[in-house]
Amino acid sequence: MSEKKENMPNEPGLDAEHWLQAYEQMVKIRTFEETANELYTSARMPGITHLYIGEEAIAVGICEALRQDDYITSTHRGHGHCLAKGAALDKMFAELLGKEAGYCRGKGGSMHIADQETGNLGANGIVGGSAGIATGAGMSIKLRGTDQVAVCFFGDGALGQGLLYESMNMAQLWKLPVIYVCENNQYGEYTHNSKAAAGSMVGRASGFGVHAQAIDGQDIRTVHATARLLIDRARKGGGPAFLVCNTYRFHGHHVGDIDRPYRTREEEAEWAKRDPLKLLEDWLAKSQHVEADVFQRIQQDVKTAVDEAVDFALDASFPNESEVDRHVYA
């Protein structure tokens, strides 16, 4: 499976300021995830979690092209999507720690963060499980007659789930405004997608008549420009699209996956050269003449914010026992 059509769409003509904002968002996710990892290794986080590090350009590149009232559905590797769509650090950490102040009052945890205020319909612990939900959001948009768009994030592993194809077929039949974003980080858990996905990823969607393309997921400018086009197209009634973003998760499948025997250190090193933060930094420095201290200041500000958020979450209280059987029914 090798489909790196790295066609760069027309430069949307965004200025350095815009890209610095995107940069900050990526740094925020990176720092959030590093901190989550620390919380795990220092045994302060219950359970495990799946880090988004290495894939930040996708969530940010796409969500920066969305409005607040647009929808996303997310995955088990969902922190990046949530933050990029506008989630607050403190409530995110609080949720990871199972605190009442978390987005889901501690009931969801890392894998189920949802936030209707930012249009986040929820991370999902079932691989591919949100394909129908995103499509339903598209249906809802169509029926309500708004010009919102729904983005369905999923990993390359979700290409194994039949629901995805059922959903894309209906989205195309009814021209629903849904963008299916396949974050192709090469692996589903410990299996390379060459052993899991036959044929062509884009071909799978185009077979259903869905507009499909594959891009470099490490370059936020490519991601963002492509997303703008597809989202705009969907908003105007042009129907769904399928976007493969080729990427890599720099860490293990989850925080406990330390040894990574299923892939080589060389492969990791190759991909590390294409760190999405680094790529944007380089471009901003070279083409936009942004000074190094600007990046440092952003990193520091983010670090401060993340630290405050963690402190908040660590101090926050656990839900009351009486909470346990609330919210089973609305």
Partner: protein, 342 residues
Amino acid sequence: MSTLENGTRRSPAIHAPGEREITFGQAIREAIAEEMARDESIFLIGEDVAAAGSVFKVLVGLLDDFGPDRVIDSPISEAGIAGIGVGAAITGMRPIVDIMFGDFTTLVMDQLINQAAKTHYMSGGKLKVPMVLRTTLGASRRSAAQHSQSLHALFSHIPGLKVAMPATPYDAKGLMKSAIRDDNPVVVFEDKMLYQEKGPVPEAEYTLPLGQADVKRTGEDITIVATSSMVYVALEAADKLDSIGISAELIDPRTTNPLDTETLVQSAQKTSRALVLDEGYRQYGVTGEIASVIADGAFYYLDAPVKRIGAMNVPVPFSPAMEDLTIPSSDYVVETAKALCG
């Protein structure tokens, strides 16, 4: 229907003079049509629900009344349309997802169990899933093992879902309307053999609460709990029992989840004997739960063990010579009741 004077008996199919009488299928359609007219956020999606008005013809006319945007023929993608239902419900709509045969609900389990049922809870109460999944149950149509199951127990097991299984046109309309208005995912099981069954349904609007059992017949000697079309089997049995001097009280829970345990237990406390009748497989199903609830709640009143009658624990056979044996019969109910009262 729900309040009957002590000692009177009235079959759900028999109505007072002057009352309007419609079929179960018409009652379902009327409920959906009224609700769709009332609330624009309701839409219906399923296989052959629009142009064809569903394979059971229950939905004929809805397409004309509400147009193709709100009555939608889907591909044969049960999981997909259930997923669409969940996503649409979360984002402000009130979808009714039609799964043609209850047997095909096996294809929507993940969307129902892991998504619809858990979204409200997992989101800490932020998101909700006001969605109805309507489907069928019931054997005896010579449709064999993959078109005859009564799988409602599977859904009744799952917290976050509600499950309704109306027996009469009156209940069908009232429960369907409540299901549509409910802010939770509700699975409505309709016995496909009941669609032509007639019964009184008032012209005036009404709803029935989910979670309230109905005393379909009062009696003194034994409590028979029956669901869906088993209500008719039980009524027939009650008539036969009457003729041999056994007075049976018949209770229809109408929804398995929530379950009106109070009404069930009180009746059993009064009669001292109980028998539970349901068309799902007997093992690990609805009868087990209800019998346990009664055996526990009425323990000190019971003169005999609570008996359970369900579908035989076999895949439904095609041959008429065998199929009918798998479904509880009124004679078997009578035998069982007599043994309990003997």
